[in-house]
């Protein structure tokens, strides 16, 4: 198996376990490449990639841009804040205008769930979803899986708890699909109001007590509270949330085993995770960011190889 079964990367849901395995294995080689004195390979020198960000992003956008540049692709960037979207142009018109400048691959972040899939069915380019609203964020899930595999050797049979705002999190949904496809067990933990009602239909455990969740797991993935997506109050105050669901050093040290702490960023220090946990040797937050470049290189490389000449 050395070819992806999909033509676009719109979500983990569409990938097979073999696809994920192929991406992770390819990413391992790219991790070697980005640790060389010359971090660049010439594979994609005849490919042009457009990064379309209709929503704010620092990490993901930089990570994609670096991945593209390290593969020698030509890159154009676009952000909604400074574009004609504000003048009333539709998504398809915007993208088709960009594509008529001979762009081969589109990396898109959009606030609407399903935007990447919608686009992939209507335009003549490969599409990579860099986050579509509260739906999926496939490359984040892949880099999380890569980071866990790097730490624990395998994902098979490992227990991962995702803590926090599951309701508004695209990272949570993509992670659930990805981890389950790779044979890991997944639990979600958070206040009742931030856990989707029917989430157990996805085959995940639900827990509302952080200590019990942490005692069960090998890996804890702490999510940010997405205040920008919350139009009503889901919990009384950040202070109360932090007391119930925030991970501090005292709680981490009181566990009878050593767990791995992850966070997709951006961190709200003192809310979901305290500074001493984020900076501790059990946290792999910065390794996740490094792995993000390698995983995105692998996704782009494998999809780009399907572009006809």
């Amino acid at each position: 198996m050395n070819n992806l079964s999909v033509e676009h990367l719109t979500g983990i849901k569409d990938l097979t376990p073999a696809d994920i395995e192929l991406i992770l294995n390819t990413a391992e080689t790219f991790k070697q490449v980005i640790n060389r004195p010359i971090k660049k390979v010439p594979s994609l020198r005849d490919i042009t990639i457009a990064n379309l960000f209709f929503e704010n992003s620092t990490r993901t956008r930089l990570s994609f841009e670096l991945a593209e540049k390290r593969l020698s692709a030509d890159v154009v960037n676009f952000s909604a804040a400074s574009s004609s979207v504000k003048k009333g142009e539709t998504l398809i018109d915007t993208v088709n205008n960009i594509l008529s400048m001979k762009v081969d691959l589109v990396v898109m972040r959009h606030p609407n769930p399903g935007a990447a899939k919608f686009l992939s069915e209507r335009v003549d380019a490969r599409v990579i979803n860099a986050g579509d609203g509260t739906h999926e964020h496939p490359t984040q899930a892949l880099l999380d899986a890569f980071s866990i595999r790097e730490q624990l050797g395998t994902l098979e049979g490992k227990k991962v708890v995702i803590v926090g705002d599951i309701l508004h999190s695209r990272v949570a949904l993509s992670n659930i699909y990805c981890l389950q496809k790779m044979g890991a067990e997944v639990m979600v933990c958070g206040p009742t109001t931030l856990i989707p009602k029917y989430i157990s239909a996805l085959g995940v455990k639900v827990e509302h007590n952080l200590r019990r969740a942490l005692e069960w797991c090998d890996v804890a993935n702490m999510l940010r509270i997405q205040l920008e997506r919350q139009d009503i109050k889901f919990f009384p105050s950040l202070r109360e949330y932090s007391m119930q669901f925030g991970l501090d050093k005292q709680l981490l040290d009181s566990l009878n085993k050593r767990i791995i702490v992850m966070h997709p960023g951006p961190i709200n220090r003192g809310v979901e995770i305290t500074s001493d946990v984020a900076d501790s040797d059990q946290s792999i937050i910065l390794q996740q960011v490094e792995n993000g470049v390698a995983v995105r290189m692998a996704c782009i490389y494998l999809l780009a190889s399907k572009i006809g000449r």
């Binding site: 050395n2 390819t26 080689t29 490449v33 004195p37 660049k40 390979v41 010439p42 490389y301 780009a304």
Partner: protein, 182 residues
Amino acid sequence: MEKQIILNKRHIDLTLKRLCYQLIESHNDFSNAIIIGLQPRGIHVVTRLKKQLEEILGKEVICGNLDITFYRDDFRRREKPLIPSATNIDFVIEGKNIIIVDDVLFTGRTIRAGLDALLAFGRPARVELLAFIDRRFNRDLPIQADYIGKTVDTLSEERVSVEWSETEGEDKVILFTPDSNE
């Protein structure tokens, strides 16, 4: 497909031994020389050379593997993506004499990619090429080997396969010629 064995185990052993002495002639005790095998097939030649060189010299000879997948010039010209193998270069190549090793030198495109891939690790003093089999007359690029195991004259539609006891069960070099009516 017609099969013809062009080197058997005894010939291969003799050829490897000769190549070792040729390498020692140029590089003395290998104190400033490093051998790098190109993935996936060149590394088997390196394993054999390393063993014999170390027996002759009585000291360790530094060897590495180099994967050239991302440097190839036929990306997107193939049906399936090229899947990389491991690269093991955990030493400094700056200022060293490097001997790149591959099993078959054919169009020269692999070696071109290998040179690019190698230079991503630093600036060696000198780079030489060892080809176990040299298919002269089939070159696409102006690349020639400094050390040659055996030169064979082939047509471009023929195929030469170097097989090793570790991977295929027997040391031999086979020339495959397509039948004229194929």
